[in-house]
Structure formats: C-alpha cells, structure tokens
Amino acid sequence: MSRQLTAERQLGTRRKVEAGLHRRHRRERLFQASGMLATGVGILFLCVFFYTLVGNGASAFVQTKVRLDVEFSREALAPDGELDLDYADFDAPVREALHELFPEATGRSERRELNRMLSIAAGYQVRELLLENPALLGETRELWVPAAANIDMLHKGSIERTLDPALRPVSDQQIAWTDALLEQGRLATRFNTALFSNGDSREPEIAGIKGALMGSFYMLVVTVLLAFPIGVAAAVYLEEFAPKSRWADLIEVNINNLAAVPSIVFGLLGLAVFINWMALPRSAPLVGGLVLSLLTLPVIIIASRAAIKAVPPSIRQAALGLGASRMQVVFHHVLPLALPGMLTGTIIGMSRALGETAPLLMIGMVAFIVDVPGGFTDPATALPVQIFLWADSPERAFAERTSAAIIVLLGFLLVMNLAAVIIRKRMERKW
C-alpha cells in the first residue's frame, strides 16, 4: 500500500515538473531577451554617440591650406633695409602672393575680401620661417598657408553654399575664389598640427589644445602626487591599525559620503581655502590639482580599502605567527598584494579627475589663456574646460574643434583605463 502510494507520488512529481517546464523555459527566454534588449539599447546609444562625435570632430584633425608662391620681398618686409621682427608686416608677402593669383580683384573691398580668405596664421608662418632662416629675405618659396576658418568650413562642407549670402559668413566672390584655387590644385586639406601645438585662440584655425593638455597634465601630476600617498596611507591606517570604534565608523560613513559630494562643492572649497585663505594663484594647475586631490581622495581610499580587505587573512596570520610586527605585516605582505587594486583605484580616480570640469570653474581655470603653461603656477585651463569654452563659442569652426577635443579627452581616458586593466592583470598574484 505504502509502496504503491510512494510510486504514485513519484509519478505525480514527474508529471507536475514536466508540465511546468514549458512555463519555466518561456520565462527564462523572456528574461534573457529583455537582458539582450537592454544591452542592445546601450550599445546602440554608444554607437550613436561615437558616430556623431567622430562625424563632427574628425574633420578638425585636418585644416584647409592654400599653396602660395610667397616672395619674402625686401620692399614689404624691410622697407628701411633692416628686417624688424617685431613690427614688419609679415602678412603683406602672403597677401601679395594671393593677389597675384587673382589680378582681377583690384577694388579696395574686393582686396579685403580676398585677404580675409587667409588666416592670420599665414603671417605668423612667414615670421617663423624668417626667424629660422633670415637668408630667405628676398627669396621666393612655395608655402602651404592656412586658410581662414570660414574658407576651411566652406571647403569641408560645413557652410551651405545655397544659403542666402546674407546668412552665410562667406560671400559669393569668396566661394568663386575658393573654387578657383581648388581647381588650380592650390587648395587642399593637410593634417592640423595647430590643433596639437597651439594654445587657445579666438581664431578657430589657430586654436589648439596644447595649453589645455599641459594644464591637465600638471594638474594630474599634483593630484597623483598628493592623492595616491595620502589615500593609501589613510586606507592602510583605517583598515589595519585604527581600532574599530564609533569614530572609525563615523569616518567610514563620511568618506563614503564625500565620494558622492557634487564636485562643484569641492571647487567652492578650493576657492575658499586655497585661493582666498592660502592666497595661492588663481587659474593655476597647482590649485586645480589640490582640488582634484580632495575630489579623488575618497575614491582612492575606498578602492584601496577594498584591495586591502581582499588580501586573505591567512597571509596576515602567517606573518604574525612568525613574529612579524604589524607594520612588517603591512609592508611585507598586505601592501604588495593590495597594490594592483590600489593602482587600479588610483587610475580610475585620475581618469575621473581628468574629466572633471565643474570644480575648475570655481578656481578660475575657465579663463581664456593663450599661452601654453610651463609650470604649476602658470595660468592654465584643462581639457574638459577647454571643451566647455569652445562649445560656448559662436564660430562654426569651433563646433568641430569641440568634438575633436572630446575625442582626444576620451582617448586619454581610454588609455588610462586600459592601463588600469593591464596593471591589474600583470600584477595580480595568486594565493
């Protein structure tokens, strides 16, 4: 009887499980499909983002240039017989070369329009060449000089030719000249070295990100020098030495909260403490680095504590059991094992610092600075702030430069995060 009952129940279990299987499978498929949908949407957004970014910014890496046969004429450059590098009219030889190509443009306003097709950087180029080689005076050389930003935009197709002439920044005449130059093979795009070798400028074709890059570099140097040792020391103390008390809990909660404080608050703190109270210079990478240190410290401390916690307690016990002091345990065993995690945390903190804009606005790093900073106290701006500044500029040509700067910034972030991954993979030890 009982045996029969058991057999019946076993059969019942089998039937019920089999009957329910179909529903379970359907649910599982549904769940997997929704997960894939979510991932797909994420990837789609990422693709759209990169597509528009590269679509907008790629053209900024090249610059439209005009090939001119420039005569470094003595009459134009050194009317008194002597070349004055400060006051000579370096634009004149370039303009002259362009005028020769279009002799029909004789009127004053026509000439002015023609002149406006070239960047003021063309004159700088002439000056640079003469500075390098004074023997050029009187010679004629073929030069590729940068076109003005509007011609650059026209050539790249960013300015609609069909637009009402009153609404577009280039005249019909300039369009005709551009086409003529193109036809003669005198107009082409070349790699935009200015973007990487110049500081900021009001003229888009001269504006570059070198100043911002150097500013960011100096800031990160200050940040890593301050935040890494302080963060690691704090994490080691809190994790290995501090007695577990209410104070330790309070500190832990506060560190976690600090990591979530809006970054602009750190900017205000930096303004109040470093600039107003400690009288450090405004717009300086030093102050920016200090502020970013405060900002990244909680991140580094949290990551370092997690890395220290991940060191197996058996290693500590082994060392303690042999008679190692607590400091020896930390320095001989815990730190070497926790270092990859700490470095990863630091690099991620650094990449956050590199992308930070808001706190820098508060300490004056949003200023328009043309010179490339040469030190920690020189006025400087940072890459994300430069992006912010260019995005605010009305010139059409700054739009593509904004995107280009974003691409460069993302490139650096990618490299840093990649470094974090590589360090973690290479230094990881098994136990």
Binding site: S314, Q317, A318, L320, G321, L322, A324
Partner: protein, 305 residues
C-alpha cells in the same frame, strides 16, 4: 585587558570560594593516576586527570577567554612540558583552538577578544606589559589549519622569519638556515632544485611542510599546530605526523586535532575540551583506554562530536 601582570591569587579572588577550594585538591600531585571513585558525568569547572606534568614549560592558570560577551574558555589550567606533544581534542566550538591561540597571543588581533588568567612561558608571564608579542611569537611558532605560504618563492618563505628577526649575518648563513629548515621539515629533497619557484605552487602537503619549515627556521621553543592535517590526504598526513614525531625531540608541540587516531599516534598527553571547559587531561593511552569523565568517553567513542 584585565589580566596583564595579575598574580594567581588575585585571579582566584574572582572565582567563588566553593569552586576555588577543590581546585587545590585536583591539582595536587597525589591525585596523579588515581581513578575517580565515581564516573563524572556533569560539566564542572574542575578538570579531571592530571593537568600537571614533569618539567613544565608553558603553564596556563585559570585562563578565561571572552569574545565580546561570549565566554569561550572557562577557567582552564594546563601545564605543557618542554619535550612533549600534547593534543587538544574536542568537538567543534569547544575552545581548543582559542586556547591554542592564547599561547602565542594571536587572539590579540581579534579586537573583541579578552583574555584573563595567567600564562607563563619558561616562567615569564606572556601577557605581561613588558613582553612584546613579536618576541613571544618568535619563541612560540604556529602552523595553521590551512597551509598559508606567502605568495613568494619557497626560499623567501623560509627565509622570511630569519630575515625579520635578523637571525642570519650574511647570505651564506641564511642559505644554511633555509636548507636546514627545509631538510628538517622533510621537504628539501623535493624542492632543492626549485627554491625560487613560488611556494603556492606546491601540493597541499608540501605547502604545509613548507609552513612547518618556515616556522622552525626561527628556532621556536614551542610549536602550535591548529589542525595541520585537516586539509590533507592520508599520505601527506602520515608524513606530517612522522615530522611531528621527529620535531618533538626539540620542541614542545601543542596540536589541535579532530582525529582521534592522530592524537593517539602523535601525542604523549591529550587534553579534552568541551564547551569551553577543559574536561580531562591525561596521558594519551589512559585517555583512550580508560577515560575518567563520561564526556571524554562519549567523545572518543564517537557518541558526541
């Protein structure tokens, strides 16, 4: 910590008089090897058998351990001789590992742990303020349940203790210490050609012998072993047991084990712990053939545990 520098008499003041009085009797030498008139079945604060030994080296008196409010060890007194192997046995959670960790102050690293009573090593109070745990642990080595070699080379594992204590004057002397220690741990033949390979790459039994080599490289006076074979196969276990046998000529060895056979094979005396009490201590053959306490008998015959 209440216990530091406290004398035996002060410690006793905390014990109710009714319990303190018979303690003297129990620990009297005349009770040695006498059979209790009636089989004890209850858990009292008294240890039956013989807690004393000839030529005592480590002496624990009225040791109590608390983890926060949890009273883990209750009034344990035990003497450990200079050249003996004593096995601590008992069911899980009975406090044998806790007691072991008192002997080299590893409980210090647990913040809520509090130890009262008095433990002396060669006459020196190990919980005295004058004694640095670092110095104590150089004299009282420890081998853990799970082999825990450092993620360093085999050589560096063994050399670590001598290095931090400055035991070797030069490289040659350090080489000598490493080789001797590995040889005494019976590992030298297997690893002598790959001393620079990571210690974590060895097999489980080899790792545990590496840990023993690492411990004896410091020349400790006492070696504490916390279930050293619990993660090893019978062959590796047999090797470690042989090793314990050899080492017992030079070191006092305290071993915690869950294996009755192991206790019977390696130890000269056995201490049975139950719920934080030290129930019975006696010579190994007496414990296993003629236990005096009902709880001991139940445990060794497999009725509890």
């Amino acid at each position: 910590m209440r216990m530091a520098g406290m004398s035996e008499f002060e410690a006793k003041d905390d014990v109710p008089a009714a319990e303190a009085a018979p303690a003297v009797e129990t620990r009297g030498a005349h009770r040695r090897h006498t059979r209790a008139p009636e089989r004890l079945t209850s858990l009292t604060h008294e240890t039956v058998g013989e807690i004393r030994c000839e030529n005592p080296f480590v002496i624990a008196e009225n040791v109590d351990v608390y983890y926060g409010t949890n009273h883990a060890i209750r009034n344990v007194s035990l003497e450990i001789g200079k050249e003996e192997v004593i096995a601590l046995i008992g069911p899980s959670g009975c406090g044998k590992s806790t007691f072991l960790r008192c002997l080299n102050r590893m409980n210090d690293s647990i913040e809520s742990a509090r130890v009262t009573g008095r433990i002396t090593l060669d006459g020196q109070d190990i919980y005295s303020k004058d004694l640095d745990p670092v110095a104590l642990r150089a004299r009282v080595g420890m081998v853990f349940q799970k082999a825990n070699p450092f993620p360093k080379s085999i050589y560096d594992n063994v050399a670590y203790g001598p290095r931090i204590h400055g035991l070797a004057a030069d490289r040659a002397e350090l080489d000598d210490i490493v080789h001797t220690s590995l040889e005494r741990a019976g590992l030298l033949q297997e690893v002598k050609d790959r001393l620079d390979e990571p210690g974590t790459g060895l097999s489980g039994g080899q790792q545990q012998r590496l840990c023993i080599a690492r411990t004896i490289a410091v020349n400790p006076e006492v070696i504490l072993m916390d279930e050293p074979c619990s993660a090893l196969d019978p062959i590796a276990t047999a090797r470690i047991e042989d090793l314990i046998d050899e080492l017992s000529q030079d070191y006092a060895i305290v071993i915690v084990t869950h294996s009755m056979q192991q206790a019977a094979r390696v130890s000269g005396r056995v201490a049975y712990f139950h719920l934080g009490h030290l129930v019975e201590v006696d010579d190994t053959d007496r414990i296993f053939t003629n236990p005096q306490h009902k709880l001991t008998e139940d445990y060794i015959t497999g009725r509890i545990g």
